[in-house]
């Protein structure tokens, strides 16, 4: 019997274009992607902003003026989404660790909520920032 299941052909492909991730899988990979982006660019950017804006009045004004630049705004909104997605997906994982919401329908629902909440909040704050 064991032999049968070992040799059973299972669909296996690692073609990124063919892989169809379920919703919790999408939340998971976005958690990783947003985390990597926050580490690679987010942290040095955040520290540079802190450094400039806290140093003196001139640095604060320069930073405030640079927010007016649409390109800076788009980058900020991008990081806002990365932070919010990582934040909400992280809260979901903390709940899962406590065995809250681990049945499939709830897990699917909460992953949908994570995606919607982070995008909606990014759009609202982004519109307000603009």
């Amino acid at each position: 019997m064991a032999q049968v299941s070992m040799t059973k052909k299972r669909p296996k492909h690692l073609d990124l274009m063919k892989i169809r991730l379920p919703l919790p899988g999408i939340v998971s990979i976005l958690h990783r992607v947003s985390g990597a982006a926050l580490f690679l660019i987010g942290i040095p950017f955040l520290l540079a902003v802190m450094n400039c804006s806290l140093a003196n009045q001139d640095g604060f004004d320069r930073w405030k003026a640079s927010i007016g630049n649409p390109l800076v705004k788009v980058i900020l909104i991008g990081f806002l989404w990365a932070y919010l997605h990582h934040f909400f997906a992280g809260l979901r994982y903390l709940a899962l660790d406590l065995h809250k919401g681990i049945d499939l329908p709830t897990a699917r629902l909460t992953s949908k909520l994570v995606l919607i909440a982070s995008i909606a909040l990014t759009l609202i704050l982004g519109a307000w920032l603009w």
């Binding site: 990783r32 985390g35 580490f39 802190m50 450094n51 004004d61 934040f87 809260l91």
Partner: protein, 115 residues
């Protein structure tokens, strides 16, 4: 014969827990920070600076950043373990990440205490 149970290097549980504790610290700080932003909005340089030089907030901010760096270390190390197979390259990248994070830590202290 010595009875031995092979259970790995033992840093797994500690890091797993640290990942979650640091996450909770950052959640709490984020809420405090956003509340302060809303309360003092719109913010000028004086208020912005006062926010971070206030004794408790300065320490909380440092705690947030230290949590962030430890959290980032565990996360990035996990990513490297998953995708970078050659040990030499992985170790090299891990050292780069550690150096960057330690550097960021020193930079954070210097920003917060010179403000």
């Amino acid at each position: 014969m010595v009875k031995r149970v092979v259970v790995g290097a033992h840093y797994g549980l500690r890091d797993w827990l640290a990942q979650r504790v640091t996450a909770v610290v950052m959640v709490v700080f984020t809420i405090i920070f956003v509340a302060a932003l809303i309360r003092h909005s719109p913010m000028g340089y004086g208020e912005w600076k006062a926010l971070f030089t206030h004794g408790a907030m300065r320490v909380l901010t440092l705690l947030f950043f230290l949590s962030l760096f430890y959290h980032a270390w565990i996360g990035v190390r996990d990513i490297l373990m998953d995708y970078i197979q050659p040990t030499g390259i992985r170790l090299f990248l891990e050292v780069l990440v550690i150096l960057a994070l330690v550097g960021y830590g020193i930079w954070t202290i210097s920003i917060l205490w010179s403000a």
